[in-house]
Amino acid sequence: MTSFDILVKSLPNLMDGLKATLGLTAFGILFGTILGICLAVGRSYGKRPLPSLIIVYEKVLRGIPLLILLFLLYFGLNQIGIRLDPFPAAIVGLGLRSAAYQAQIYRGSIDSIPEGQITAAYSLGMSRIKAIRYVILPQILRLSIPGWSNEFTILLKDTSLAFSIGVIELMRQGRYIQVLAPDLILVVYILIALIYFILVFSINKIMRFVELKYQMAGYQVEAHR
């Protein structure tokens, strides 16, 4: 078989890798979003010492490379008896880190909502829960769309690091093909890069559409870095 034949025969494997990449992305962003919202709300509205603990968490998770985090979760925990499979370990690592970045996005959105909004909600007779549900939360979500979709594509690209702890996603499949057809290294990786690029580009286009559809005329999040 020529190297080219090998490449063609490996395309289904690449697609499997793609599925794994998408799976990591979906679960990772879901985990990161839920945790991120909790962190933001906990930091803005929580009782001591919750906000301080959350600040520490955010600083640490933003201060170490994702690669180290993945190694800690997979190899590190293994040594002390906690055995995680590569796929879940990767999701946890991606999620924990994404949450730390997403928390900033949601905090920025929360801070951008004028206090008068909740006052007006109360004046209509809304309870705290109703005010948050119908007035505050919809605005937080709308304001967060641009930041969130940015984080989404970052996470998608970061899933490529999961190959280092054994997850058989797109990168690892690429490695396998590289081993089988070493003279096609450039082609293989350009192909993989192209797949990532198409994914990111498509997601950006879709999120831009969503952002425009839901944006509140005249309101943007104040930058928080």
């Binding site: 209509l124 007779g125 119908y134 919809p138």
Partner: protein
């Protein structure tokens, strides 16, 4: 209908309200005037408990709002509030701004709430703007949406906290006209600097300074024959500044 009994309020160590008492009947229009920082806005917020008073009571239709056991949310349905900064819900159209209280608080069915919202918006002259968002509206239009939003809840009284202070002079007139049209239909307690409006429209004018009511009386009494020197001084000065007819 509304009774304010001996209300005291401090922010930290600073006393703002030092024993304020008065009453209001259904469909009365009362205007509170006075220098800034004398607690006029604080008083309004004490009435609907956005800022609960430290001492004193507020009674609405025989129920004590200030009682911690009373259902404040239910009582707030009966008290409309129009803010100086409008505070419209930014993510909702004018229509939904008005209908959301009906749908989610009064649990009125969606179509009925929509119809009512359109009715109120038409009443304030905004039938063309029902599908616009607050950011697309002028200040005067925003405030009229705010008034429609308060009206739709069928309140016993609407509190107006300097409703025209944040508006360009040419837009004030539209808002004041809407408020004039409500006289006699719903009780209104208005904090404002618009002396012309106060003089022409109020059933009673309340002059506050230093956290207490200095004097109160009919517009005629207050403007031509005030008992306290300070009242005469304030009305004389402000009247000259804002003009006899105010922005109306």
């Amino acid at each position: 209908m509304l009774e304010i009994k001996d209300v005291y309020k401090s922010y930290g160590d600073v006393p703002i309200l030092k024993g304020v008492s008065f009453t209001m009947e259904k469909t009365e229009t009362k205007v509170i005037i006075g220098p800034s920082g004398t607690g006029k806005s604080t008083l309004l917020r004490c009435i609907n408990q956005l800022s609960p008073p430290d001492k004193g009571q507020v009674w609405l239709n025989g129920e004590e709002i200030t009682n911690p056991k009373s259902n404040i949310n239910k009582m707030r349905e009966k008290i409309g509030f129009v803010f100086q900064d409008f505070n419209l819900f930014n993510h909702l159209t004018a229509l939904r701004n008005v209908s959301i209280g009906l749908e989610k608080v009064k649990k009125i069915e969606k179509d009925a709430a929509h119809k009512r919202a359109i009715q109120e918006l038409t009443r304030v002259g905004l039938e063309e703007q029902v599908d616009q968002f607050p950011a697309q509206l002028s200040g005067g239009q925003k405030q009229r949406v705010g008034i429609a939003r308060a009206l739709a809840m069928d309140p016993d009284i609407i509190l107006f906290d300097e409703p025209t202070s944040a508006l360009d002079p040419e837009l004030i007139g539209d808002v004041l006209d809407v408020m004039k049209s409500l006289c006699g239909k719903v009780a209104m307690l208005i904090v404002t600097h618009e002396m012309g409006f106060a003089r022409n429209v109020a059933d009673e004018i309340i002059f506050m300074e230093g956290g207490v009511i200095v004097e109160q009386g009919s517009p005629k009494e207050m403007f031509t024959n005030a008992k306290m020197a300070r009242t005469r001084e304030f009305l004389g000065r402000i009247g000259a500044l804002y003009g006899e007819e105010g922005g109306g």
